[in-house]
Symmetry: C3
Subunit: 279 residues, 3 copies
Amino acid sequence: MKANLLQLSIANGVANITLNNPPVNVLSGSLILALKQMLKELSDNNDVKVIVFDSANPDFFIAHVDINILEEREIFNQLQATAPEGFNLFQAVGEMLRDQPQVTIVKLKGIARGGGAEFVTAADMSFASLEKGKLAQCEALMGIIPGGGATQYLSEKMTRSRVLEVILGADLFDAATAERYGWINRALPDASLDTFVSQLAHNIAALPEGVLAKTKQVLSPVKNIAGFKAENDAWESLVFNPAVTEIMMHALQHGAQTVTGELKLEELLRKKEVGSKII
Amino acid sequence: MKANLLQLSIANGVANITLNNPPVNVLSGSLILALKQMLKELSDNNDVKVIVFDSANPDFFIAHVDINILEEREIFNQLQATAPEGFNLFQAVGEMLRDQPQVTIVKLKGIARGGGAEFVTAADMSFASLEKGKLAQCEALMGIIPGGGATQYLSEKMTRSRVLEVILGADLFDAATAERYGWINRALPDASLDTFVSQLAHNIAALPEGVLAKTKQVLSPVKNIAGFKAENDAWESLVFNPAVTEIMMHALQHGAQTVTGELKLEELLRKKEVGSKII
Amino acid sequence: MKANLLQLSIANGVANITLNNPPVNVLSGSLILALKQMLKELSDNNDVKVIVFDSANPDFFIAHVDINILEEREIFNQLQATAPEGFNLFQAVGEMLRDQPQVTIVKLKGIARGGGAEFVTAADMSFASLEKGKLAQCEALMGIIPGGGATQYLSEKMTRSRVLEVILGADLFDAATAERYGWINRALPDASLDTFVSQLAHNIAALPEGVLAKTKQVLSPVKNIAGFKAENDAWESLVFNPAVTEIMMHALQHGAQTVTGELKLEELLRKKEVGSKII
């Protein structure tokens, strides 16, 4: 495992976890495993009250799940085997963020697509840069549906009409629209985002003993296991189609998982002209 | 039945259905029947992936249910008899839009009131002209409550406080407010609405095989039969009041179901001064 | 009991109740009792269709529950004893607003915190001055969680992510943000708020017989008794902590329940510098 996929700093009850998996922060098996281990350790640290996630990459929060994740077969199997009953390993990432005793906050400055968008949606709170934060469930363009909880988490946050638009339209949403749809807590001007999130995190960390735990307990989300299973079954029914492999391979050959390709991933997946060259 | 109540065109997997029931597109028994037949045929057409509804009338999408619908008794009885178990014939229109294998999208450029607003709300997605799209549940002004699913569909989309405002306030909502309330997906500048909806529809129609069906399956709305029944019972308890007939007749005599009257329907139903004449 | 805690006027089917408990409209036992008696009387008055609540104080709608409420022990016990099964006396205030046969509307011009914010959230509808309306669940800063229904009422209105932000961030929300979160129906320019609410209230009061009752019946909110109990249990587990008493006493000694202190209550509760003096 790469040693520095995650950078952790802790101050005044607030842990900051910076995701750092160049070049575009794909959600690889190694990254999921590192997150899982770090969150497990933090869950035993009573001094930490809030966990803020951000990215070392100004353009990407999490690109999406690593298209090559099956190459990390050992880690993949380990994650699958340790996922909670009723959830697949991707859904288990979102559940982990919600079950954490701390408050989990995403500070979104770049793009989060697919499993990265699900990470944002699952967190307890999320705040995005008005100028730079972007979200997409791009799975439909790959021939699958989201399989990491998006159908369930998005349905908690926005109308079914908007969930259908997000998943089937599969376009990149700017932060202002994401806020209007309820996808994130708020979009804030980039210049004030750091201060806002830091102030909020430290205010929460400074709350009198017991308030945070009791609030998370009373507001613990209903786990609609049947919904997660339906999502997983539908995802599994599509993901092994040869057409899906073909789309993924084509995408990898034409820039997916590189900075240039990921900045225009929708166009690339739709096999459109990008710049002057037909891909 | 009028032959051209509906205009159908199909291209690249997208069917466009234009409603055309002059002068104000009332939702008559004939129109419901024509829609039902056309949607039935389309449901067997695997090449069609998306259905976009618009109106031939620039001022009205659907005025509301035809006040004279009972005069089409044969059609009315036929629709009632073929409504799915637990739904009345008006609620069955909304359910039809949701149960369609294709994605149903409303492009709203004019006014949609009553059963027309319920049509918009029930569709899988809806996009409105910021300048021209308007929505109202006007039933309260007629002495009834909405009986075509609005109490259920609106409750999925907005807070109970806002549903109460929509139904009891019974005013015409502009598209921007409708978006903020979650009633529609989005309000877009009139100049960009056609392009936006067309692009979205064609993007969805171009998705790899299986994605659309699996997404609609996982996101199929819960059918709260008890809620639809409660709505229908309350509607039925009011609709036969003599006062309701009196309001309807007064409205018809003073301009309802004509362009001029429908542009100011709320004032007309409140029996207020319209222009210089007391109606 | 103070004689004039509530001012009532009735015209054309609309009752206006003005809250008047100087200096900052705390929600005292006496005020709750007076509200309960007045609403009971109004519930038997079939001529009244709508109840609008406003405040005699331009800066405060309801400051919050009176910190000294336990000093009114007799009233407190009476309220507790007469709360509906499964609800504590504070939750019973919100339930009373919802169970009222009339439509209850809050017109929010000043600050509503804690139990005052819960009053706003529980009402059938709420409209706020864009410039002057403010809402906060400030309980977390006092070492408790909201205990008057906020965890349940807010969860009906906004995403869990936003409820967590409201309760744990515990900051004062302006009316525009409250509208975007779904907390209130709408924020309106202060200059048009009175006219808007008055027009809406009178329109509703003028509806044909039966519409209002049937609408409230079909849209009666689900009473999630288990949720209210979980909230109450969590609240009770914290409220008797000595630290909570200490915070409350410190706050009272430094300006809570006075105009000056309440205008900056968050800073006061966080024990920050207010003006030039360390409190």
